[in-house]
Amino acid sequence: MKGIKTIIVLSALALLAFASATEYPISYPKNFPAPQYNFKNNPLNNASITLGRALFYDPILSKDNSISCASCHSPYNAFAHTDHQISHGINDQIGSRNAPALFNLAWQKSFMWDGAINHIEVQALAPMSHPKEMAETIEHVVEKLKNKGLYKRLFVNAYRDSMITGARLLKALAQFQLSLISGNTKYDQVKNGQNSFTVQEQNGYQLFLKNCNSCHREPLFSTYAFANNGLSVDTTLNDFGKGAISKRSADSLLFKIPSLRNLNYSPPYMHDGRFRTLNQVIKHYISLDSSQVVSENLRQKIKLNANEQIDLIAFLLALNDSSFVSKPDFSFPKFLLPQSEGNKK
C-alpha cells in the first residue's frame, strides 16, 4: 500500500516538475554588481535546479555512497562545514582545507582557496574525484545515475530527454549552486531603506570601510581577488595557495578573499580553519606588524581599541542572512531522496 502511494506521489511530482521547466527568476539586491556568470547564455530553470539540488544532497556522487556535497557544505552553515577545521571526506580521511561557505557564487571569477578552478560548472569534478573526498569518477557516477528511475525522470524534466552526460550533470549541479543567493542581511535591509543600523553597527561600519573594505568590498564583501592577509604558514600543511597553481613566486601565500556574509553560521575561519571566533580574527588583524609579509591593503597598521573591536564585530553580525540558511528551497529535498546516513553527516 505504502509503496503504491509513494509511486503516485512521485509521478505527480514529476509532472509538476515538468510543468515547471521554466526559467527561474534570479533576484538579488539592486546594489550588487553584474554577475560574472553568463546567465543570458545559461538561464537558470526550475527543473535543472531541482535536478542539481537532488545531486547536491545525494551521496551517490561518492564511491561508497556515503558522502554527498552537503556532507561538507551544509545549508545550516551557509553551505560550509563547521565541525572540523579541515573537512572530512570518505572513510573520514582528512583533506587539507576548510570547506568554504557557498553563496553568491555567480559573482566569483574563480573557485577554491587558490583559484584552481576556473568555472563553477567544472568545480564539482574536484571533490568527486578527490581520493580523500568522494573518491569517485564522473564516468562511474553517470553510470550509477543511469540505473536510477529518479534521475531518468529528473534529466527528462531538465533536458527534455533522458540522456545523462557528464556535462549535463555538472551544469545542473551548477544551476542549483548559482541559485544560492544571499542578499537579505540586515546590511541589505539598511541599504534598501527597510531597516537601520544601531549606533554600534554604524560605528562598526565606518571602521569596516576604513580597514577591511578594500579587500572585503561591499556589497558582496569580497572583491574575490587573491591576497595575503598575514597568516603564518602552518608547517604541518605547507599550503602556499595560488602560488602552487600558477607556479609564480608573486602568487605564493595568496588565498581567495572570502566574503564576510554569514560568518555566524560558518566558523571556523580562514583556509585552514585556524580561528574559531571573530574575536580571534580581529586579534589577528590588529596584531599584524611590519615584520609580516602582507598584501598592500594591509601594510598600514590596523589600530582598533577594545570598544572599536566590539563595534566592528557588531557590524559583521549584521551580515548574517538568516533567511538564506533557513530557505526551504535550498534544504535537503525530502520529496526526492531518502534520508540516509550520508545525508545526515
Binding site: 568555472h119 560548472e121 574525484s129 557528464g166 556535462a167 555538472l170 607556479k247
Partner: protein, 214 residues
C-alpha cells in the same frame, strides 16, 4: 599498414595514422626499443579547426568542432569531411589541443564531455594530449609513464596550430610517430607530466613537429 582510402564514399577523408617503428601502433603490444621494452596503454588527443588551404588561402573548412582521437576507438581516427573530392588544395591546418576561450567555458558536451577522461579535476583545464604506458627501464612504480599535456594560461599555454603540406588527394593521411616522441621525452628519466609546466610546453612544442603528411 598504409593509410587506406575510403573506397565507398566520394568525400575527402582525414585519417590519423599513429605509428610506432614505422607501423600502425597497437595498444598493449610490447615494442623492443634498444634495451627497453615499451607498451602503450592509452593515446588520446584533441584536434579541431581542421581546414584545407591552397597557398595559405582557405579552401574549405572540414571540421570546426573538437574531435577526440582515441586509439582505443578506431572510428575516431578518421574524419569524413562530407566534402566532395575535386577541390584543389595543398595544405591542411588544424589545432592540436584546446584553446583558452574554450578552456574557460564551463562544462561542455560531445567529445569535450568530462567523462572522456580528458579533464583535469583538481585544477581546471582539458588535457590536450594523453599518452600512458610502460617502459621496462622506467624507474616509476610498475614502470608506468603518464604524459598529460595541457595548459591554457600564460606562460604554460600549449595548444598548437599545425600546418602540413599535402597533395590534393581524397584521403589525407596525417602521421604521428609515437616512438619519436618517447625518444625525445625519455621515459627512463621523465615519466610523469600531470599539470601545466615549462616541461609540458616543451613536450607539446616537440610533439607538434612530429605530425607529417607523407
Amino acid at each position: 599498414m598504409a593509410c587506406t582510402s575510403n573506397i565507398l564514399g566520394q568525400s575527402i577523408v582525414v585519417r590519423f595514422q599513429i605509428e610506432f617503428q614505422n607501423q600502425a601502433l597497437s595498444l598493449q603490444k610490447n615494442y623492443v626499443v634498444g634495451a627497453d621494452t615499451i607498451n602503450i596503454e592509452k593515446l588520446k588527443f584533441y584536434v579541431s579547426n581542421i581546414a584545407l588551404y591552397q597557398n595559405d588561402q582557405l579552401v574549405k573548412p572540414i571540421n570546426k568542432a573538437f574531435h577526440l582521437v582515441d586509439l582505443e576507438d578506431s572510428t575516431s581516427l578518421g574524419l569524413d569531411s562530407k566534402i566532395n573530392t575535386g577541390l584543389v588544395f595543398n595544405q591542411i591546418k588544424f589545432t592540436l589541443g584546446i584553446d583558452s576561450v574554450t578552456q574557460v567555458s564551463g562544462a561542455l558536451g560531445g567529445d569535450l564531455d568530462p567523462t572522456k577522461g580528458m579533464y583535469w579535476t583538481w585544477q581546471s583545464g582539458y588535457i590536450n594530449f594523453k599518452l600512458e604506458g610502460t617502459a621496462s627501464n622506467c624507474p616509476s612504480r610498475n614502470h608506468h609513464f603518464q604524459y598529460h599535456l595541457g595548459g591554457y594560461q600564460y606562460p604554460f599555454a600549449c595548444w598548437q596550430d599545425i600546418v602540413l603540406i599535402v597533395p590534393s588527394a581524397k584521403t589525407i593521411c596525417i602521421k604521428l610517430p609515437i616512438d619519436e616522441f618517447l625518444a625525445f621525452v625519455q621515459p627512463q628519466k621523465n615519466y610523469e607530466i600531470m599539470s601545466p609546466s615549462n616541461k609540458t610546453v616543451e613536450y607539446a612544442n616537440y610533439l607538434s613537429t612530429l605530425f607529417s603528411a607523407p
